[in-house]
Amino acid sequence: MNLAVVLRGQTHDLALKNPVLTASGTFGYGLEYAPYGELKSLGGFVVKGISLTPRDGNPCPRVLETASGMLNSIGLQNDGAEDFCTRKLPLLPWRETAVIANMYACSVEEFARLAGRLDGEEGLAALEVNVSCPNVEQGGALFGQDARLAAAVTSAVRKAAPSKHIMVKLSPNVADIALIAKSVEEAGADSISCINTLLGMALDLRARRPALANVVGGLSGPAIKPVALRCVWQVARAVRIPVVGVGGIVTAVDALEFILAGASAVQVGTGNFMRPDCAFRLVERLPEACAEYGVASLDELRASLCCPTC
């Protein structure tokens, strides 16, 4: 069965040998998982979020296991774009699989500068724009929660990185995710990945303190899969650009459900912590899951959701 997919963008396509990517922040820079599978067997991987300058992230504790999921408030710890481009990217197998850089910035201008720095990197197949970050110029409002701001970031990145496929990663912490999706599509996004984590919180009752030093954090894992499926379904109906499903995907069957909901590809995140070969295994198992569920092709599956409101 041919599992290759092409994410047909407005400016640039992104060709993947299969629809399985790994989600930013859960797969390091890829090499951490090389002992557990062939990186080149993946459709691609999205590296840990990169900012223009190094960031130390938030104080610990900054991860917590919750029922069927986890909270994280890492705070985008990374060594900065320059370190990534000169020291990390050259070591990655980018000729053999798609390496996607996840970008984080605190202003439209900073997003543009970061995109400009990454645009020239031959090893990057695409840029994923994390719009779930606060805009320091506008009182910390999250770019991803405001259609105009999300569009402004997308269009700035589009202009600054003319040679790259631009994937915008949407936050589920919004009233109408389809509205944000349409605005980033109009602003030039080539594809949309959704969802980022859901904002959550956990408490230590004995100590009467928040469990995370940052108080709140992003919820991920199987607990959020129904929310992610709903968002993918809503976004896929609202836009023409391809959608990449993220949120609680652990098995090949999970992946097929996201494709049925309208996704063209998927990202495995917290599943990588359940077993480090999770994404590799998912790729291996996809053909047999397709056979088991009578899926002739991924395109056929994507257009086949039967529901009263579709």
């Binding site: 922040g25 002992p35 130390d56 900054r62 991860v63 296991e65 990588n272 912590f273």
Partner: protein, 272 residues
């Protein structure tokens, strides 16, 4: 093909320590020796991530467990019941399947001819069982062990017979002072002879060891415990600030992964 460091193994046995004292809280978990060449060069102080199938979707993370001992046929790890995951692990039965990846992390320094002082606090004794049993000259090794539970709660019987073991049972606050006094005396003596001191235990204990180690300018390694999601350096959940002697100057004072860059750190290369 990659010789994956992940494998699935059946539990061989789970032995409670101190089973006569009501609900056992400490266990030795025995598994078959995992396949793979990495196990030929494992080092005491390294750990594995272990995730029983019984965790289902409900508990997504594996649990970091210190490697206690590895033989030709067996891997033994100790754990203490602390939370949801270890509580569920206490119900593992022979034949139950677990996922396991490792050996992970760096492990303790080993010097055949230097005097080695092992400093263990509570469950921090676990990595030293493998350490003393694999040391080529165990008569160079001695151990100081502070504990709060009765001695039979811990795997002290697994410590090599050549290794003198001094135990301090902390039952009331005054006992801690005696232990700290012994700690200082033993660390000073060890440092005078150019010895190596290795410590594993709860954070306040490691902080005390670190302070003494820096004061004495002794060669001391600390094994840190941390909550971990991935165990392989990817999630950045288990970081600790690098110390002033960290080998990469640009990283000093900045967070480094306990799982990947540790869990064993030289005393001046880590902040606590």
């Amino acid at each position: 093909m990659v010789d994956s460091s992940y494998c699935r193994l059946p539990v061989l046995g789970l032995t409670p320590f101190n089973p006569h004292n009501g609900q056992a809280r400490f266990f030795a978990l025995r598994l078959p020796r995992p396949p793979g060449t990495a196990w030929e060069s494992w080092r005491p102080g390294q750990f594995v991530m272990l995730r029983p199938d019984s965790f289902g979707l409900e508990l997504p993370w594996g649990r970091p467990l210190c490697i206690c001992h590895v033989t030709d046929c067996c891997l033994t790890c100790f754990f203490q019941v602390r939370g949801r995951g270890t509580r569920r692990m206490a119900h593992l039965r022979p034949g139950d399947m677990v996922g396991l990846w490792g050996p992970l992390g760096n492990g303790f320094a080993k010097e055949e001819d230097a005097p080695v002082l092992l400093l263990a606090g509570g469950m921090g004794i676990a990595p030293f069982v493998g350490y003393v049993n694999t040391h080529p000259k165990p008569w160079n090794v001695s151990m100081l062990f502070g504990h709060r539970e009765p001695l039979e709660s811990y795997p002290v019987n697994n410590i090599n017979e050549f290794v003198p073991l001094d135990c301090f049972w902390e039952r009331e606050p005054g006992d801690l002072r005696l232990f700290l006094q012994a700690l200082e005396e033993r660390m000073s003596e060890n440092a005078r002879f150019g010895g190596l001191a290795l410590a594993c235990g709860p954070l306040p204990f490691l902080q005390a060891v670190r302070e003494l180690g820096l004061k004495l300018q002794a060669r001391v390694q600390l094994s840190l415990e941390s909550v971990m999601a991935c165990g392989v350096g990817a999630c950045l959940g288990c970081v600790t600030p690098a110390g002033q002697a960290w080998p990469e100057p640009g990283k000093r004072g900045r967070p480094v992964q306990v799982c990947r860059r540790g869990p064993v750190f030289w005393v001046d290369q880590v902040e606590l």
